[in-house]
């Protein structure tokens, strides 16, 4: 995903002289392509995230479209109050791009995990939150981000994620992408859980079920229409995300469901309210804590 991000940004920057990229000293072997092509529009600020966000805001107030890239905790949490005031409150045209969603940096440890970021970013007024699920969604979202003025958080995995989408699929910020229409129940994923979700759908299909499969690459603004449609069709919803079950995709969907008088059930598949102290890859951490198990169709209420 990060390779797709930088390739797309380089392409955009060729035609758009207002695109500026900064980093608080992370992005080795990722950002060099941009830095080489546009040395006047790239800055390594040093390991100083608060200053980096302030500089991003100052550049944006001077007319630049600024992208700030780092590992998620350092582009969202270390500098949260700067994000709140210098970007969200002032509504500046800054896109925060974080890599390493969920347990992507698995054995690096919890300092580098990102399980709270969707919650704290989506609560900020003016802030959009996009969590593309595969390289195709990354390309579409980054392309569109340059056309949407204002704050946005783009949450990425790492690298080598497979492409799940067909190359003709519609991916539009703020609108869910339906990968498969169904009738029995719905699986809604965000971010890199798209890959796992696709494997669940294949398994359910093999069992003879007909699930709807939705990629919610934009968590804010949430596509309420698709949730409303699922409720209208009386379909239970599974929300799958590599994020805490507090405040992420599942919470956002439950906020919509709460407005209806409905029997529709929400099954939240995410990370419980704990930090991982297990050492291992993201997959191994998930296995250790028993996370992301495919819900049985009984759980789904069939």
């Amino acid at each position: 995903m990060r390779t797709t991000f930088i390739n797309t940004l380089v392409e955009l920057a060729r035609d758009d002289p207002s695109i500026f990229l900064i980093t608080p000293d992370l992005g080795y072997a990722v950002l060099e392509k941009f830095a080489k092509a546009f040395p006047d529009r790239f800055l390594n600020i040093g390991i100083a995230e608060q200053n980096a966000v302030g500089i991003a805001s100052g550049l944006a107030l001077s007319g630049y479209k600024v992208y700030m890239y780092s590992i998620i905790p350092f582009v969202t949490m270390r500098c949260f109050e700067q994000v709140r005031l210098d970007i969200a409150y002032m509504n500046t045209d800054v896109k925060l791009v974080g890599v390493g969603e969920g347990y992507s940096y698995g054995p690096a440890g919890a300092t580098h995990h990102a399980i709270e970021d969707i919650a704290i970013m989506r609560v900020l007024p003016n802030m959009k939150v996009c969590c593309p699920g595969d390289p195709y969604e990354v390309r579409k979202i980054v392309e569109q981000s340059a056309e949407i003025r204002g704050p946005m958080y783009i949450r990425l995995g790492k690298n080598n994620e497979p492409t799940i989408h067909n190359t003709t699929d519609n991916v539009t910020i703020g609108k869910a992408s339906v990968l498969r229409s169904g009738e029995d129940f719905a699986l809604v994923t965000t971010g890199n859980m798209l890959e796992l979700g696709a494997s669940w759908v294949r398994e359910w299909e093999a069992q003879g079920y007909n699930p709807e499969f939705v990629s919610m690459h934009t968590v804010k603004p949430l596509d309420k229409d698709i949730i409303t449609s699922l409720i209208a069709r009386n379909m239970n919803i599974i929300a799958l995300e590599e994020h805490s079950v507090l405040g992420g995709l599942g919470s956002a969907i439950s906020e919509v469901i709460a407005g209806f008088n409905t029997e529709v059930k929400l099954i939240e598949c995410g990370i419980p309210d704990i930090y991982s102290h297990y050492v291992g890859s993201g997959k191994a951490i998930a296995a250790h804590y028993g996370l992301f198990q495919i819900p049985s169709v009984k759980d789904v209420g069939l």
Partner: protein, 267 residues
């Protein structure tokens, strides 16, 4: 003649701030009075910033990072015609126009929302870098408090500005020696040496002398950001407020208001 006009204007600015604080029953009056001469010097002597050129990329930009002293900036902007002076009555009250801390959407002339300390210098640095990248003229001036220099983000910006030789950035430190809960919370006796050590051109001046401030603001060295350590007195101009921490928090009652007004009129 010019000197009399300067003094009269500073007196009028202090009276405006006093009125605003008394009317709205709000405070930070001490923090406002320590920066009156600094704001006067900037807006009446130095800045190429006018209501008519706010969209000119070559204008000078001023950021009040110690934005709890917003009332002093509002008074100055109103005097310079950025908005009607009548709006000063609508500071810090219900259905107000002017918030206690700065919101750039509130009125013309406020270039940056500020209020949480340690934000203005990084943002100003970003603006100064943008000017260089776009080959735009003009400078970016950021006014900080000495207490604000406790914030780590200030020093992140200080280091990067000198590394990148951002010499169109000017920081002014309102060195009034009093912060939230008193003096000497953090030892800053060698503040100017600290800036020098980080590669800045440093000037130390009397922060209530317009002549000294003007000279310092026009100085500098090519390739270096400039900092002016302005030695000031918190509450300057009112005998019972000068150097008193409580005037960070207190609003003048009717009697104190009358006395302060008398002192200003006699000065």
């Amino acid at each position: 003649m010019h000197e009399k006009k300067m003094n009269d204007t500073c007196k009028e600015l202090r009276k405006s701030v006093l009125d605003m604080m008394h009317y709205s029953k709000s405070s930070h009056i001490g923090s406002c009075f320590s920066i009156i001469e600094i704001l006067y010097t900037l807006y009446f002597e130095i800045l190429n910033t006018r209501p008519a050129n706010l969209n000119d990329p070559n204008r000078d930009i001023f950021i009040l990072s110690k934005a709890h002293a917003s009332a002093a900036l509002y008074a100055t902007l109103a005097f310079k015609g950025f908005f009607p002076r009548g709006w000063l009555k609508r500071y810090y009250i219900d259905d107000g126009i002017l918030p206690g801390h700065l919101d750039r959407d509130a009125v013309p002339g406020v270039e940056c929302s500020c209020g949480s300390l340690g934000h203005g210098l990084p943002i100003g640095l970003g603006m100064a870098i943008a000017k260089k990248t776009k080959n735009a003229s003009g400078k970016v001036f950021v006014l900080l408090g000495d207490g604000e220099c406790n914030e780590g983000s200030v020093w992140e910006a200080v280091m990067f500005a000198s590394t990148r030789k951002i010499d169109n950035l000017v920081a002014i430190i309102d060195f009034n020696h009093l912060q939230g809960m008193g003096a000497d919370v953090i030892d800053q006796a060698n503040l100017s040496e600290r800036f020098s050590a980080f590669g800045w051109h440093t000037e130390v001046v009397d922060g209530h002398s317009i002549e000294a401030l003007s000279g310092a603001l026009l100085s500098g060295s090519p390739g270096k950001p400039l900092v002016i350590i302005a030695n000031t007195v918190k509450g300057k101009g009112i005998s019972f407020m000068e150097g008193k921490l409580e005037w960070h928090y207190k609003s003048p009652n009717d009697q104190e208001y009358e006395q302060a007004l008398r002192e200003l009129e006699k000065s």
